[in-house]
């Protein structure tokens, strides 16, 4: 993982303060400027993300590469946020109301986000499994000339893939993975060989942990600061919280995660605010997708590549079922194109999933560090009481 260059990248990300380090005396005007700059940074980053997520572009909405950009945006915002909240800040400032309440609430969200990161990280593992199955189909279909045997091989892999993708929400993620390679017969054999084998042992997160509940809890007490509060540090805390909820929510929607029933599709975010505009637009688009998905509550998630695998897989299974050696040229070209698309999708996954997983891990580590830094400032502000003895 790219842990080693974290520090470098963190420094790079603090673009916001580069010109202002000198005048860090915390005067009001400076603070206002900082806040404005932070809002602008957030607005710009999400507007870039929105404009790059065209339907047919290289970074289609919710594709692996788009998610990687999203995660990057998050890391940048977090660095900017820390620059506003922590760097050069008089600790007593964040220990005064309303921040004495808002900052601990923020830290609470951070802890929840850490668990979401872990769940998503495991989810990426599942997506990599989809990819492996699709790759088997690709290599079978790419044989020339194409014989019954290879078509059957591809079909077997695709059937496992569809079975996995169609796994219902609420069922065990891993059990799908497990069944993939065991034909019905082996499943019997396996059961016979191991009576009493516990199938539920492959929990990914703690028992009863729910991604949906986690997202709900993160956004539940998230209220936009009003009146006098809105000009102070309460505002960046709110903005960063919103960014965090959005990013975690989008990841949960895209990647299979433990228990997503009840994942919110609406958030009361202030779309009239400059920084929120693009983010809300993205959120609405994803919500639309999610609502569609809810009609068939599958585990797979909205990841663009996953959906593509599903579509292509279905079509190629149909082909495989009607296939008879020797192949007629009729309609075969279409199959060749689909196989090529499947191969291309697998390639994108191969290139992007492991780095995505590493980025999510980086988010994890960054959040842990941020939390420590903020706690440290709180501690200096004398708000964290001495541990009980």
């Amino acid at each position: 993982m790219r842990a080693t260059d974290n520090q470098g990248s963190f420094l790079n990300r603090i673009s916001i303060r580069r010109n202002q380090v000198v005048s860090m005396d915390g005067n009001h005007e400076q603070e206002l400027q900082d806040l404005e700059l932070f809002q602008k940074q957030v607005a710009d980053r999400f507007s870039d993300l929105l404009s790059s997520s065209s339907e047919d572009g290289a970074d289609a909405l919710l594709s692996v590469s788009w998610l990687r950009k999203l995660v990057d945006v998050f890391l940048c915002c977090d660095a900017d946020f820390k620059a506003v909240l922590v760097v050069g800040r008089d600790p007593s400032q964040i220990s005064k109301p309303p921040l004495d309440r808002l900052v601990p609430e923020y830290l609470d969200r951070v802890v929840k986000a850490l668990d979401v990161c872990n769940a998503v990280s495991h989810g990426v593992e599942a997506v990599r499994h989809y990819q492996k199955l699709a790759e088997i189909a690709v290599s079978a279909f790419e044989q020339r000339p194409i014989f019954d045997g290879q078509v059957r091989r591809a079909k077997k892999a695709l059937n496992s893939l569809m079975l996995t993708l169609e796994e219902q929400e609420g069922s065990n993620l891993k059990s799908a993975e497990r069944t993939w390679s065991f034909g019905r017969r082996t499943a019997n054999i396996t059961d016979r060989a191991l009576p009493g084998r516990v199938h539920s042992l492959s929990w990914n997160m703690a028992k009863g942990w729910s991604a949906a509940k986690q997202i709900q809890a993160m956004s539940a007490n998230l209220v936009m600061p009003r009146g006098a509060e809105s000009s102070g540090l309460a505002s960046p805390v709110y903005i960063m919280s919103t960014v965090m909820v959005f990013v975690m929510w989008a990841l949960v929607a895209a990647i299979p995660c433990q228990e997503r029933n009840g994942l919110p599709t609406y958030f009361p975010w202030p779309r009239q605010q400059g920084w929120a505009q693009s983010m809300v637009a993205l959120q609405e688009k994803i919500s639309e997708e999610w609502k569609k998905k809810r009609e068939k509550p599958r585990l797979a998630g909205l990841l663009e590549e996953t959906q593509r695998l599903e579509r292509l897989g279905q079509s190629l299974i149909e082909f495989a079922e009607s296939f008879q050696f020797p192949t007629g040229a009729e309609g075969f070209e279409e199959v060749v194109a689909q196989v090529a698309e499947l191969a291309e999708t697998c390639k994108k996954m191969e290139e992007g999933l492991v780095p995505l997983q590493q980025q999510i891990r980086e988010v994890f580590h960054t959040l842990v560090r941020s939390r420590t830094e903020i706690l440290h400032v709180l501690d200096q502000g004398g708000k964290v009481s001495a541990p009980p003895m």
Binding site: L114, L133, G149, R185, L201, M389
Partner: protein, 645 residues
Amino acid sequence: MGDFRSILPLCEGEQHVIAATQHLVKALGASKNLDDDLRKILSQLDSHLSAMTILSPESRGTGFREVEQQFKWAEEKIRGWESNQSLMWDSDPLEASEYLKAVVEIQTLVEGLPRLSMSGTRKQKELLNRAESILQTAMSRLEEELVHILVKHKQYFELGNMSFQYCGKDVVYDESFVSVEDMRIEEASQRNNSGNESVDCVPDLVHPQVIPHLKSIATVMFASSYDQEFCQAFISVRRDALEEYLVILKVEKFSIEDVLKMDWNCLNFEIQKWIRALNVIIRYLASEKRLCGQVFEDLGFLNPFCFVEISKVSLLHLLNFGDAIAMGTPEPQKLFRLLDMYEVVADNLLYIDTLFSEEAGTCVRIEFHQLLRRLADSARATLFTFGNAIAANASTSPVPRGEIHPLTRYVMNYIKTLPIYCSILNVLLKDQNAAASNPVAELENGLEVSSMAYCPMACHLRSITCILEAKLDSKSKLYKDCALQHIFLMNNYHYMVEKAKSPELKLFFGDEWIREHIVKFKQHATSYERATWSSALSLLRVGSAGSSSTSKTILKDKCRGFIIAFEEVYKSQTGWSIPDPKLREDLQISTSQKVVLAYRNFTGRNSADIGEKYIKYTTDDLEKYILDLFEGSPKSLQRSRSRRN
């Protein structure tokens, strides 16, 4: 039955190439500067080449019919098993190897058929189609057999001695500042240094007898380019086995949120499980890696990839728990567990680096290094929190009877458990003290033992007691009675010295510190005597010149005054306490010497003037009464005397 290879002809050009290559291989094989691996590869290549050249030019004309017959034999063999529900290697390993032979025949056909002279004909294509088809059936079957063998012959890693050898340092330290039982800590602090016995003995995770079966399945599936299926099945089963093993080790999954909210008793328990699990899992993984090595031997570079895929998810769970612990608020009682965790990661780091030395394992390696750093930070923060907590300790009421403050007990017993972590603490604290002057350097020529008193941990221990002393001084002010302040401080300093003199701590505190602090508590003893007795004893001091000039009345008053003062002291100070019998005795003797001597002189010289009646107590009485002081149970002289008379 013959072999397809002998039937499928090669074109002449190819024959020449093969002959030339074979020649080269033989020449190379004769060279003495080859390592075993290369020699093995060459000999394999040679046998392959020989097999190909067996095809004599005469066989070139052999017909398609013969090939078809060969194929039929293999096909029947494979189809025969299709309806058979039982598992090959279970029922008959010989049959299984026959099956594999049939698969190899088909493979050879599939590879060689396109080269047949009449290639491209419909008949040939149909045969090829049948061959591919039967090959797929066979592969599917082999995959099932693979999964079955892996599941059925899975062996659980013998916990045996491993689980019992590793007891960690069973330091139980969940005490608060209030209740500390010395004995418990002393009992518990015996270090059981183990857990890292060796990785030399690597038990088998799959029965060794089936390894050749797995290898032969792997070879055949890889040769038919069904390597993806093989790897997926293998990884999937082995990964499940590892997860199952974590369940056996009772490692539960917690969210970070859960861990941060968990109460200390649970956490303590989970940490101990984690430490044990990590130790065992690293050894398990050494076996896993060997298994991968055995199965994927000769099959390219998949071994590290598969190994990482198998182990990554489970290791992430272990890592996460570690991260969650390191994130927790630093509380003094956590220190020992944090140090245990640090130690187990540090001890295993080399193994982890070796197990995941390949590119594919980089992320795992880095994660563990990061975890170690985080645990170090957390342990360090906890250690400093401990100092801050002492300084922040607030109490409004003095300890009754001037006894040892619970804080003193807590701190000293806490400190006493630290030396078993000396080497770790020195590492953790080294960076902190790097800037400070380093007396060790100056003492390098001195005795080695004395330098232990200057290691980073020793310096830190003394800095903690320094904070404690300041705290005790301020706590002594809670007593209104100045003499009791001294008793309190004497008791507490004495306790500290006794603990510092214990074999665990002696070398770290050093003679100098101990000497200094003996002087301190002795000073408080002296101050006590002065505060309590100086005014009373001054009554007994009678002007040496002209005793006759001192009037009897004054002498009587003085005597009465002393008696009253003594009775008051007796009344209050019998209720004070010096828990250490030796210390108590010393102070009683020293008091006795001063008081009784002065009293004897006074009464001896003036008894006639004062009159027996006013001399209420004999010197023996006083001596006896002084022995009642500091016993912690208040008594009164007036009452007891009145009752006696």
